[in-house]
C-alpha cells in the first residue's frame, strides 16, 4: 500500500504490543496473520504499530472507523477474547499517570476527540494475556486465541462493508521475531 493511502484510508486495523515481550505480541501476531491470509480493500490499512504510546494519534487521526488488537487486563482466563466499543474504552479517564498497562490509546483518543478528529466507531479486540515478560513468542493459550481474534476483526470489517478476501493459497505470517537465531529462539 502506498504511503498516501496509509494516511488517508478511512478504516484502520492496528495491532498493538511489543514483540519482545511474550504474550504482548498478540496484536502484531494477529496483524501478521491477517496480512498473510487476506487481501484488503483500498479503504482498509492493516499495520503493526508496536507500543507507540501517545504517538498513536497520527495513525488514528481522521479515520472513520478503527479496529485495535491488543492484550487487555481483565478478569478471566488467558486467551479469553474481550470486545470493547468506543464508549467502554473512554469510560474511565486515564489517571495522573499512564500506567505501564496503558499504551496511550485512551489519551490519544481523548486528544483527538478534543480536536474533533476522532474515529466514529472503534472496536477493540482484546485478549487476556498469560505471561508478559522478555520472551520471543506467546504462550499456548494466546496462540490458540489468534484465530478467534482474527475472526473478530474480519467480521467487523464485513459488517462495515469492507470484507477481506481470503488469499489462495494462504501465505505464511511473517513472525520474524519468533524465527530461530538467538539463544532464546
Amino acid at each position: 500500500m502506498n504511503p498516501d493511502n496509509i494516511k488517508t484510508a478511512p478504516i484502520g486495523v492496528f495491532g498493538l504490543g511489543n514483540v519482545l515481550m511474550g504474550d504482548d505480541s498478540l496484536g502484531p501476531t494477529v496483524v501478521a496473520h491477517l496480512l498473510a491470509g487476506y487481501e484488503f480493500s483500498d479503504a482498509v490499512v492493516v499495520e503493526d504499530l508496536g507500543t507507540p504510546g501517545l504517538d498513536l494519534h497520527p495513525h488514528l487521526a481522521g479515520r472513520q472507523k478503527l479496529i485495535l488488537v491488543d492484550v487487555v487486563k481483565s478478569e478471566g482466563d488467558p486467551g479469553e477474547l474481550k470486545l470493547y466499543g468506543k464508549d467502554e474504552i473512554l469510560r474511565h479517564a486515564p489517571g495522573v499517570r499512564v500506567s505501564p498497562h496503558d499504551p496511550g490509546v485512551k489519551e490519544a483518543l481523548l486528544a483527538l476527540q478534543f480536536a474533533g478528529d476522532d474515529p466514529g466507531e472503534i472496536l477493540l479486540v482484546g485478549v487476556i494475556p498469560g505471561k508478559i515478560g522478555h520472551a520471543l513468542g506467546m504462550t499456548d493459550a494466546l496462540r490458540a486465541a489468534v484465530p478467534a481474534a482474527e475472526a473478530a476483526v474480519l467480521e467487523e470489517l464485513a459488517r462495515w462493508g469492507h470484507a477481506a478476501v481470503p488469499r489462495e493459497p494462504r501465505g505464511e505470517p511473517d513472525l520474524w521475531w519468533e524465527k530461530p537465531g538467538g539463544t532464546d529462539g
Binding site: 504511503p3 504490543g17 519482545l20 501517545l54 487521526a61 499517570r97 505501564p100 486528544a111 483527538l112
Partner: protein
Amino acid sequence: MSKRIVVDPITRIEGHLRIDVEIDGGKVTKAWSSGQMWRGIENILIGRDPREAWLFTQRFCGVCTTVHAIASVRAVENAVGVEIPLNAQLIRNLIVSAHAMHDHIVHFFHLSALDWVDVVSALDADPKATAKLAQSLSPWPRNSIQELTAVKDRLAGFVARGQLGPFANGYWGHEAMKLPPEVNLLGVHHYLQALDYQRKANQVVAILGGKTPNIQNLAVGGVANAINLDNQSTINMNTLFNIKNLLDEMTAFVKDVYLTDVCAIGAMYPEWLGYGAGVVNYLAVPDLPTDVAGTQFDLPGGTIMDGDLSTYKAITNFEDKYFADNIVEGISHSWYEGDKELHPYEGETIPQYTEFQDDGKYSWIKSPRFQDRVMQVGPLAQVLVGAVSGHEPTARWLKFATDLAGSVAGIPIKTEMLHSTLGRHLARAVRTAVICEKAQEHWKLLVDNIASGDTDTFNEPVFSGLQMGYGFHEAPRGTLSHFVVIENGKIKNYQAVVPSTWNAGPRDAKNRPGPYEASLVGNPIADPERPLEVLRTIHSFDPCIACAVHALDVEGNELGSVRTL
C-alpha cells in the same frame, strides 16, 4: 516533621518509573528514582546475526524506536569497520532529525505543558486579548481571534459536559499554576495545532523509513532506499520535494509556536530557573555525520564538568576513545547481583530482586558513570556543549530564546540559569530549532549529492573472528550508546546504555544520587497530595524508561498513583 510522597509511576508515556521524595518544611530533602523494569532485554540478541540486531533493538521501546535502530546499525558498522555511503548518512540524518522534531513537540505540548498550563483557567480568557498577546510574541498566522474563540468554545463545551478529555489528569487549579487566562488559552490552542504538526514530522520519517513506528529502511552498511530520480517507486524528486515542504512547515511551527511558547510560558515561572539543577556534569555525543567515515559532524559533542563551561572537552568522532573508554555502569543500588562497576562490553545483567531499600537496592536501572562522575544527558547538555564549542546555530537560537524569555520576564536570562528545570525546557526548544535548520541543510546536501550522480546507498559489511564496537546517537533524550561484541558473525554480548539510564539511574557505590534524584532536592512542594512540582522537574527530563510492558486497561481505573506516607 518529614513526610514521604511516592509517585508511581510518573511517566505520561510508557515505562514504569517510581519517584519517592521526602519533604520537610515544604521542600524536598531527599529523593529516589526507581525504574521498575528489568533491563535484560538485550539478552534476546545473543547468538543472533548482527545485521538483524536493529530490527530487535527498535522494539526495545515503542516510543524511541528509530533511535535504537540507528544506534544499533552504527554499533555493528563500528565493530566491522564499514563506511556508509554519503546518501545513506544523509537519509539517516533526515530521519533522526524529523524524529527529534516530532518527539520534542509531543513532549512539550502533550506530555509536559499541563504541568504549567491550567486548562480550566483558559475559560476566563478574552480571545481578543489572547490574539493580541500572541501577535506580540510571534508572527504565527494561526493565532486569530476567530480561531482562539473557537478553541475556547470547544473547551467550554467539554467542561460543561463534565469532561476534561485529554486534560483530565492535569493539576488544574493548583496554587503553583500562575499563568494568566490568556496564556492558558494560547497553550490549549497550540496543544491542538501541535497534534497536526507533529504528524507532519512523522510523515518525513514514514516517507524515508517506509513506515513509522519501526522504520524498515535501515541496513548495516547503509540504507535500503533506492534512489532513482525517474522512478516512481524509489526516492525521486517528488519524494524529495514532499519532504522539503514538510520540513518548511515544521521549521515555522517550531520557531513561531514551540520555541515562542516555551519562552513565554517559562518567563512567567522565572523561579523555576532556580530549581532543579541537580547534576551539572554534562555529556553529549556529536551527531548528524556529514562524511562516509563518521569523522565530521554537524552537531557537536563533548563533556562539561561541575557546571563550568571552561572544562569543555570535545568528543569528535565515532572512534573517539574519550567517549568509549570512560564509561562504566554500576549496580550497587540496582537489583542485580553484586556491586561491580563494569564497562558495557563486559556488562552483566543477572537479576537479584529485593524489596525497595532506601539505603540498599531499589531500582532496575543501572548507574552509568563517566570518569567516575554522575552525568546529565539530554537537550541541556546538547545546548551547553553547542554554545561552549562555538556551534553557531546553537549560540544564535539560544540567544534568540533567552532574549525573548528575558524580555517577557523582565530579567536578563544568563547561561548559568539554564542549570534548572526550566532551563531543560528552554534548551529542548532551542535544540529543536537547531535541528530544523540542520534538517534543511541536510536535505540540500542530499539533493546536491544525488544531482552529482551519486546514487549509492549501501556497502556490504564483512564479518570475521572477534569484532567489537559501539555506536552512539544523540537522541532526543540524550546520549544513547549500543555496545556489541561479535564472534564469527554472531552476537556474543550486547548492551544498550540509554539516555534515561544516565538521568534516571539510582545512587552509586559512593552514594551519589543520579540526576533525577539530585534535581528534586530543594524543590518546593505546595501540596503534598498533588505534588505538581515533582512532576515539573521530572518531566523536564522527558522520562522514557526503555520499557515496553503493557496491556490495555479498559475496565480498570487505577488512579492511586500518588501516595503520601
